[in-house]
């Protein structure tokens, strides 16, 4: 069953067609990877899915919901969480607070209740904390729980961002280059975590990645983009062997 179906998706910035008639389907429970050279439109596809840009044309179906009609701040509530290529954490807040903000879309307490910190707010806080602690356990972040993000090394921030997305408890997780800037060891950890996320948490992963060994190790299916168009899709091996992909991206 497909969780996300993208049909004929296009966006043009003036004369530049960043994404041009892209279509793909992500099935429930798989790891789906988008590859392609710089400027191919990979991140733009992500930004379209998380509704940062409105598409020029095309459709995006998440379950039964037409995503192109959903307001940007409602996307998380539907069950789509994402990370960013350049890490967009809340720098001057602690790791714990960052993750708690991931729970924001599940909260229903009103402003007045919060000003008085009524018992129901306290209960909801404790429940959120528990949900967040599970993510902290999974990703081994206990050591950094109270640290401010601004002082953390790059590799840890990357994990914190993943944790924040997981705290949303999404159905679909968008990872924009999860291994960029990580060393070999950290990349290995990332491989394990992506597998855990898929197998233990049952979360579908849509990912952009340049590290072909990581792509090969975790992906079920791969889509290759170039100049905003799909040039190949299939299993990792199929796509890696595709002559156009080799020409445009991987090299011989």
């Amino acid at each position: 069953m497909s969780l996300l179906r993208v049909e004929n998706l296009s966006i043009a910035f003036g004369g530049v067609k960043a994404v041009d008639g892209v279509g793909f389907e992500v099935s429930e429970g798989e790891v789906f990877t988008i590859i392609g050279p710089n400027g191919a439109g990979k991140t733009t596809v992500f930004n379209l899915i998380s509704r940062i840009y409105p598409p020029t044309s095309g459709r995006m179906l998440f379950g039964d919901t037409a995503l192109e009609r959903v307001a940007p701040h409602r996307v998380a509530g539907l069950g789509i969480a994402r990370t960013f290529q350049n890490i967009e954490l809340f720098e001057h807040a602690t790791v714990l607070d960052n993750l708690l903000i991931g729970r924001h879309c599940h909260r229903a307490t009103g402003l007045l209740a919060e000003l008085f910190f009524l018992p129901k707010v306290r209960e909801a806080e404790l429940a959120d904390r528990e949900a967040v602690e599970k993510v902290i356990d999974l990703l081994d972040l206990a050591h950094y729980r109270e640290a401010r993000v601004a002082g953390l090394p790059y590799g840890v921030r990357k994990v914190v961002e993943l944790a924040r997305a997981l705290a949303v408890r999404p159905k679909l997780l968008l990872l924009d280059e999860p291994s960029s800037g990580l060393n070999t060891e950290e990349t290995d950890d990332m491989v394990w975590w992506i597998r855990d996320i898929k197998e233990e948490l049952g979360i579908t992963v849509l990912m952009i990645e340049h590290d072909m060994s990581l792509v090969g190790r975790v992906s079920d299916r791969v889509l290759a983009l170039n100049y905003g168009k799909v040039i190949a899709s299939g299993t990792p091996a199929e796509v890696q062997g595709h002559p156009e992909v080799i020409e445009a991206y991987l090299g011989a």
């Binding site: 701040h73 996307v75 998380a76 969480a81 954490l89 720098e91 924001h104 879309c105 528990e130």
Partner: protein
């Protein structure tokens, strides 16, 4: 160093984290309660501190936590002060007029918050300055209500048979309002809305992807900040006894913004320290004047110069203001003699990537 052994999540939610805090805040509370024993002049200055701190808390919520600059907060103070003055003259009971002052200022905050949804940084600052000028102009021209430049004399507060006619009564009232506001804002900051403010300050784009409604959250911040300032304005009117439009000009707005920067941006402590500083500095300068050589001491514009100088020094050497300095001093004492000189060295990050807007 204090190490807190945590056994429940409750401990992270509590406002008072450990016995030390309970002790020192208790002591502070006793001192504040005993303040009416001071000579009346000092008590009067303390009342001013409470009023300014109330504005500071509101402004800190907006600028320090939500990251929206405002150089027009004197206008909200004016809205509050004039609402109170006009309503009181019409015989409206104090509780109602105080709430109305807060509500009307809050509404004004929503109005100025609307352009804030599209403007950031310096442009927002300009828009709020413009708002400040407009309000001042309205107060000057709308003579049938505000009596224009001739100003309004405000009577002392009376609730039923009780008259707030002595300084200590007004002091307790302002202190009470300040404490209630601080408590409410502390509650908010440990709840989702408060975290949403911080999220918007640090990265709007990812705040949005986490499900935060940017427009609504920013408007809430503006409304709350303005409402607190409006309530402070109502108390300010009673404290000043006489209000006129030129008291609420851009200079006051700038002073208020300076207050939270010098106090320490991004913490409620900073708002209070800033208020203490703002009230204490002119007194200190007045005292020092007599001991300085006449050429300096009797110079015109000594006070603004000292203010400006301190502002520059704070920005250069202590961007986190008085509160930041206090944290460092405390850390030094806690770790003595193991304090490392570089513990608080400002780190430079060399990775600067383009961010989504």
């Amino acid at each position: 160093m204090r190490f807190i052994f945590k056994t429940t999540y409750e401990q992270d939610i509590r406002l008072v984290k450990h016995g030390g805090q309970a002790f020192w805040y208790g002591l502070l509370g006793l001192a504040l309660a005993a303040a009416p024993l001071l000579p009346e002049y000092y008590l009067s200055q303390l009342t001013f501190v409470c009023i300014y701190a109330l504005v500071g808390v509101g402004l800190m919520l907006l600028t320090g936590y939500t990251g929206q600059i405002s150089l027009g907060h004197a206008a909200f103070l004016a809205v509050g002060a004039y609402t109170e003055a006009v309503l009181q003259a019409k015989g409206v009971p104090f509780g109602v007029s105080l709430l109305a002052a807060g509500a009307l200022a809050g509404l004004a905050g929503i109005v100025i918050g609307l352009p804030a949804l599209r403007l950031t940084g310096i442009y927002l600052a300009i828009a709020t300055i413009a708002f400040g000028f407009s309000v001042q102009e309205v107060l000057t021209r709308w003579e049938s209500v505000t009596r224009g430049n001739s100003g309004i004399t405000v009577k002392s507060i009376s609730v039923g048979w009780f008259q707030f006619d002595a300084e200590w009564k007004l002091y307790y009232l302002t202190l009470g309002m300040l404490l209630i506001s601080i408590l409410a804002i502390l509650n908010l900051l440990r709840a989702p809305t408060g975290r949403a403010f911080v999220a918007i300050r640090d990265s709007e784009i990812s705040a949005q992807s986490m499900g935060i409604h940017l427009a609504r959250t920013k408007t809430t911040a503006f409304a709350l900040s303005a409402a607190l300032t409006g309530i402070a304005g109502a108390l300010y009117a009673h404290k000043l006894v006489f209000i006129s439009p030129e008291q609420f000009g851009i200079l006051l707005s700038i002073e208020l913004a300076m207050m939270i920067f010098i106090g320490g941006i991004g913490s409620l402590h900073g708002a209070v320290y800033g208020a203490v500083f703002l009230i204490a500095l002119p007194q200190l300068i007045a005292v020092m004047k007599d001991h300085l050589p006449a050429a300096i001491g009797h110079q015109t514009g000594l006070e603004p110069t000292v203010f400006g100088l301190i502002m520059v020094l704070v920005i250069l050497f202590e961007p986190l203001g008085i509160y930041g300095r206090w944290l460092k001093v405390r850390y030094y004492l806690e770790t003595f003699p193991l304090y490392k000189k570089d513990s608080f060295r400002r780190q430079k990050t060399f990775m600067k990537s383009e961010r989504l807007r």
